[in-house]
Each structure stands twice: as structure tokens, then as C-alpha cells.
Amino acid sequence: MAKQAFYHFLGCIIPHRYPSVESAVKLVFKDLDVELLDMEGATCCPAPGVFGSFDRVTWATIAARNLTIAEAGGHPITTGCNGCFASLWDANHELKHDDELRDAVNENLAEIDREWKGTIEVWHYVDALYSTVGLEKIRKRVTRPFTGVRMALHPGCHWMRPKQIKKKDDSERPHIFRDLCETSGAEYVPYKDELICCGAGGAVRTADVKTALDFTKQKFDSLLKAGGADMIVTPCPFCELQLDMGQVEIQNYFEAEYHFDILHVVELLALAFGHEPEEFGLTTHLQYMQRKNAPNWERLGIEAKS
């Protein structure tokens, strides 16, 4: 039987700021026998907050250009970023249901000898893992369960919202991301503001970083009120950046100190599958680089190596 294969849409933040996520997903997908193919010449998704707010047709055209790369090869796309998912999946969906948009986009794509045909689908890593690989197969690969480690989740905005369009999970009472993260053996910690935005997306962080950090601070305070957690797991690198590097920025803007280790879900799984943190570079997260410290190995239940 042919191996399941996806075109790997990297986006901007994973390859250019949090490459540990790119390294981790390659380990995880290889362990699960799923192929990741290079998407040569892919560009920005484009950033849905800024581009979607500036001009819908340009946003949809640049997104569709990325989709045509996968259409040419005949494989679905997978991406590990909620923002990229918002652009690629939403554009793919809107082009299927909006003739006027489709005609406008294909007229623009004709300038570069491309045409959107609607022949492939877009999957977030979470979708690929949950629906294509399945939880059972993932559980079998866990050799280092995070038993006793308290795990808070930050699912972010675009993966499951708006629920009437995405039709994937109940965005008010979601379970899919939790089910996936719990395969690691970690203990789920509910907190009141689990489902609020991290503050980064929707062009907010770009517009006003202090306002964005206010959201992040609210989230952290809500988590501390619930008893805190040993780690926060997210499926989005922009959320990861906001929650991770955001702790350093919160210290500067609000003089409040927080110490949370933030993991992308594929980094969590890489560790649960028995990979060592140095195999994918966990300590290169910008929080550690800027604070000149390391993850709290003891809290994560991982043996620290010098």
C-alpha cells in the first residue's frame, strides 16, 4: 500500500524563527510512516490577518498560488500553523463556493501561468495526525509517557473556528486537540481562558504588541488561578512565539514574571516518542535564547543533559 504523503507547507515562523518545530515534525511523521514532501517555491500563506484585512482578492490569489504547487504534484498539503491553515484551507474552501472570487483569482493566476483547480485538500498537522494516522497508532509509538506532568492547552483560533465552516470540532467544547495531546500521557489541566486568543493573530501583534501581550497575560493569569501547569501545548507557531517569547516581552512591558515552557504539539509528540530534546533543538526556543536559560527539565520529567 502506498505511504500516505503530504506536501509540507512551512509558512514563515516555523522555518525562520522556530525551526525546532520543523525538525520535530520530521521526526514524528517519519516515526508514523507518513511522508512529508518539500513544497518548492511556496511563499507566505499569506499572513491572513494583514492580507485578509487589506484585500480579499489578493489574499485569496497568493493563497491559491500556494495551493497550485500541491495540485501540480497531486498530494494534499499539511501545515503546522493555525494562521497558514486559515489562509490555505479558508481560501481553498471559499474558492469552491464563490464563483466570483474563483474567476477573479484565476484571472490573476493566469498572469503567472497558474490555475487553481480545487483538486487537493489542506490538513493541519493535527488533522493529519488525528484523522489520517489515528490516535491508536500514535499511542503505540509513545515510549516516554509524560505521566504526572500537568499540561495546559492553547488550541488557538483558526484550526477549529468558525465551527460552522470548519465542521471539525465543537469550538465551544472541543476535544480533538485534547485527545491528541493526551496520547503523550500528560495530565490535562482545564482553565477558564483556554479558548481565548493568544493575542498575536488577526494582525493584532503587528499593530500593537502591548495589546497583544495583554491577552497573553490574561491567559497566563487564568492558568495560574487553575493551579498552573508544567507546560502549555499549542498547534500554532505564532501562538507559540506569543506565549514563549511573549513572557520576555511581558516582563519588559508589565514587569510581571512568568515561567512557562511552551511546546508545539509535534515537539510534545517527538519527546513522547522517545526523541531527546537536542534531536530537534527544543532549547532554541526564543524564550530560552533571550533569557539564557533552559526548559524546566524536572517539571517536564526529562533528564537534563549538559
Binding site: C12, P19, S23, E40, A42, D55
Partner: protein, 92 residues
């Protein structure tokens, strides 16, 4: 969808010239480098090598022709004019 309405209102506002400078800079960055957050320093390439992957990813960082295609799209839709530096900036 409420978000769609907000985005449509924002599209109108932007067309009328209401644009925050940092957003404009993000848009210009995509037209220049193909990415809103580009591989713009050697230190980021070093970081990639440190985590065990190739220094330059197979996106627009490696393929400048992709950036040319983005520029052509922007020219066709008028996006390039929308986000270009203007001599007299309207009030934000």
C-alpha cells in the same frame, strides 16, 4: 460570519487609505522577500543548522522566482499601489 464582516470593513478602510504603518511594512515585506517573517539574518540560518535541518528551506527563501510571481500578482490586483510608500500619509 462576524469575522468576515470585520475583514470586509477593513478592506474598505484600507482602500480609503487607513493603514497602520506596521501592517503596511508587513505587506511590503511579503512583496520584497516572499514572506512576512523572512529568513533575513544569518543567525536564523545558523539556528536551522543547529536543530539539524538544511540552512535554507525550500520556500521563497531559496526560490527567488517565487517572489517574482508574488510581485506580478500584486501588480495585477493593484495591491502594490495599495501598500506602496506614499508621499503624503493619511492620518492613521
Amino acid at each position: 460570519m462576524p469575522t468576515d464582516v470585520i475583514k470586509a470593513i477593513r478592506n474598505v478602510a484600507v482602500a480609503e487609505g487607513y493603514m497602520l504603518v506596521p501592517h503596511q511594512k508587513t505587506a511590503l515585506k511579503v512583496l520584497e522577500a516572499g514572506h512576512a517573517v523572512p529568513l533575513d539574518k544569518e543567525s536564523w540560518e545558523n539556528l536551522r543548522e543547529k536543530v539539524g535541518i538544511e540552512r535554507v528551506p525550500p520556500n521563497a527563501s531559496r526560490y527567488p522566482e517565487a517572489i517574482e510571481e508574488i510581485k506580478k500578482i500584486a501588480k495585477k490586483t493593484g495591491f502594490d499601489k495599495l501598500v506602496e510608500e506614499k508621499e503624503e500619509k493619511k492620518e492613521e
